[in-house]
């Protein structure tokens, strides 16, 4: 599952302080790179000869405007080792909602009769960061779900994963097929080689409309307003002739702010 997510680094506010969505670009969500890398690693180690499919549901519209960014993100997956890509692009499904994304992913899996051994996703995407699509897909497909995996292996036809939760690390074993969400710590994604990048454009890509799919749920949540978080910092640079003088000026500033007290 690959998501072209709003790139938070391209954020800009309107004069009213709202997020200027038109100005922002999309990029492949960071942690999805780890998911592709892990898919390639597992395929080479345990599922030789298997294909790696990617499914992308364009959550941000309008399709005309976003198409280029969406294709770039998908292309990146193909260059990293995905063999065949499915892209659901439809203005009736944007702005998306995880309810829509998950139902569209499941609809693609059913329509194209994909029979995955493993479904991999990043633990969350950099725009919404709710981390819920993988769990939804697992439940809809009736598959076991292993979330926040920071280590993944296959033993005797079952997966063994280390789940990274707040207070402990949990080692779990689940039957295959299963859905797994991975954390950034699971691997270090390798950048694709030039040959891989060139090969990527020749791999099969299917663009699908909502009307081609069955059971896609329309978005439910409504984004009423998105306001740029303006943390106003003073941005004062402190300089002195010597390091001692700089240190003293900094200490004076902290005293004036009331965060420390001196004799």
């Amino acid at each position: 599952m690959l998501k072209p997510a709003l790139n938070p680094e391209t954020i800009r506010g309107t004069p009213e302080g709202l997020v200027d969505f038109d100005y922002m670009s999309l990029k492949l969500s960071d942690i999805d790179r780890n998911a592709v890398e892990e898919a390639v690693r597992l395929r080479d180690a345990y599922f030789k000869g298997s294909k790696i499919y990617s499914i992308t549901v364009a959550a941000w519209g309008p399709v005309d405007k976003r198409d280029k960014d969406v294709k770039m993100a998908v292309q990146e997956g193909l260059a990293k080792g995905v063999d065949e890509a499915f892209i659901v692009e439809d203005d009736s499904l944007t702005p998306g909602d995880p309810v829509t994304t998950a139902s569209a992913i499941v609809a693609v899996i059913r329509k194209f009769n994909l029979k995955p051994d493993l479904v991999l996703a990043g633990e969350a995407t950099i725009d919404g960061f709710t981390g819920q699509v993988a769990g939804r897909v697992a439940a809809k497909l009736g598959l076991p779900y292993v979330s926040f995996a920071r280590k993944l292996d296959v033993k005797d036809g079952r997966i063994v994963a280390e789940r990274d939760v707040e207070d402990y690390v949990e080692v779990v074993e689940a039957p295959i097929p299963a859905v797994v969400s991975v954390t950034r710590e699971i691997n270090v994604p390798r950048p694709p080689t030039l040959i891989q990048i060139r090969m990527a454009s020749r791999k099969p890509q299917h663009v699908i409309k909502a009307s081609d799919l069955e059971g896609v749920v329309k978005p439910k949540k409504k984004l009423v307003e998105a306001r740029v978080l303006a943390v106003k910092r003073k941005q004062t640079i402190i300089e002195g002739k010597t390091l001692e003088e700089t240190a003293d000026k900094l200490i004076d500033a902290l005293v004036a702010e009331g965060v420390i007290r001196v004799r």
Partner: protein, 304 residues
């Protein structure tokens, strides 16, 4: 049929916060899980369902059957990784909207509105979701509901055995810090060239009475410090009155963790580092030279 709501949590403070919203929607039920004593929760006056296991699969199975029998209009829980896992599955099964880290929740008629961080902490979104919905609350942002009413009933839940087996649990290594509660934080990043050099930051922290935090690479990649020191979007969100970032460039994910800091000081030798656009006071200097001097001057000047 009267409307019901469902609260899922492990700790009493999380239950009490969720109940504040749950009571506005319908007759609350509480699902508490794990090896905890559920009896204090009976004082809130609502039915309590207790699941002794706390693995995600068992919790999902228990929730699914509870959802089927209660058909709640809202499910409320604290935002934790295991509850994200479990509730995303419940939401998927019934196509319910779900949001995490929400606060300022308002329920009116057939929908709920709330705010949450968006775009890696760079924006705040106001969203509206039709009921039934699943909301995972940001901790300590909702007032607690008072106890009251006749004592609630207690029922033990026993779901079928899970297909995903927990083989082992290892507690995470802890550095003994509670960075989220720290008033003063000295935080370290990649500007430090070795683990031994962090000693400089610890000395500064000791003089100030501060806790030591760090950026992602120090905890996650280099593992020089345990993860309880990690400040940022995937680490801990902090709210000290003073945050001193040393050798931290200021990646967006790190900045997202310090938006609630009252005052941010940056020490970095790269004057173009993004941290300087996101600090109150900046010192462009080699940390190896400046930090020992700052520590020395503080030692001499600080009030005991």
């Amino acid at each position: 049929m009267a409307m019901t709501s469902l609260v899922v949590a492990q700790r009493e403070d999380d239950v009490a916060e969720a109940l504040t919203i749950a009571r506005q929607v319908g007759e609350p039920h509480i699902l508490v899980f794990g090896q905890v004593d559920p009896s204090p929760l009976l004082d809130y006056g609502h039915p309590v369902h207790h699941l002794r296991s706390d693995d995600t699969e068992s919790l999902f199975l228990a929730l699914r059957s509870l959802y089927e029998s209660l058909k709640p209009s809202i499910i409320l829980a604290p935002t934790t990784k295991n509850l994200k896992d479990v509730l995303s599955r419940v939401a998927g099964l019934y196509d319910l909207p779900l949001a995490t880290e929400v606060y300022d929740v308002k329920v009116s008629g057939s929908s709920a509105s709330y705010r949450r961080g968006f775009l890696s902490g760079r924006a705040i979104a106001l969203e509206e979701a039709p009921l039934p919905a699943v909301l995972l609350l940001a901790p300590r942002k909702t007032p607690r509901a008072p106890k009251g009413g006749a004592k609630g009933t207690l029922e033990t839940v026993q779901p079928p055995s899970p297909t995903v087996k927990v083989l082992e649990r290892r507690p995470k290594e802890r550095g003994g810090v509670n960075i989220e509660a720290a008033e003063l934080i000295v935080s370290v990043g990649r500007g430090f060239r070795s683990k031994e050099d962090l000693k400089m930051a610890f000395e500064l922290a000791e003089v100030l009475g501060a806790q030591v935090g760090c950026s992602r690479p120090i905890a996650a990649d280099l593992k020089w410090l345990s993860e309880d020191h990690w400040v940022g979007l995937s680490g801990h969100k902090v709210a000290p009155k003073l945050y001193i970032a040393i050798g931290i460039s200021g990646a967006p994910q790190h900045l997202a963790g310090i938006t609630d800091a009252k005052l941010v000081v940056a020490i970095n030798n790269d004057k173009s580092a993004p941290i300087f656009k996101n600090c109150d006071y900046g010192v462009v200097a080699d940390l190896y030279q400046f930090v020992p001097v700052l520590t020395k001057r503080l030692k001499e000047r600080l009030a005991k």
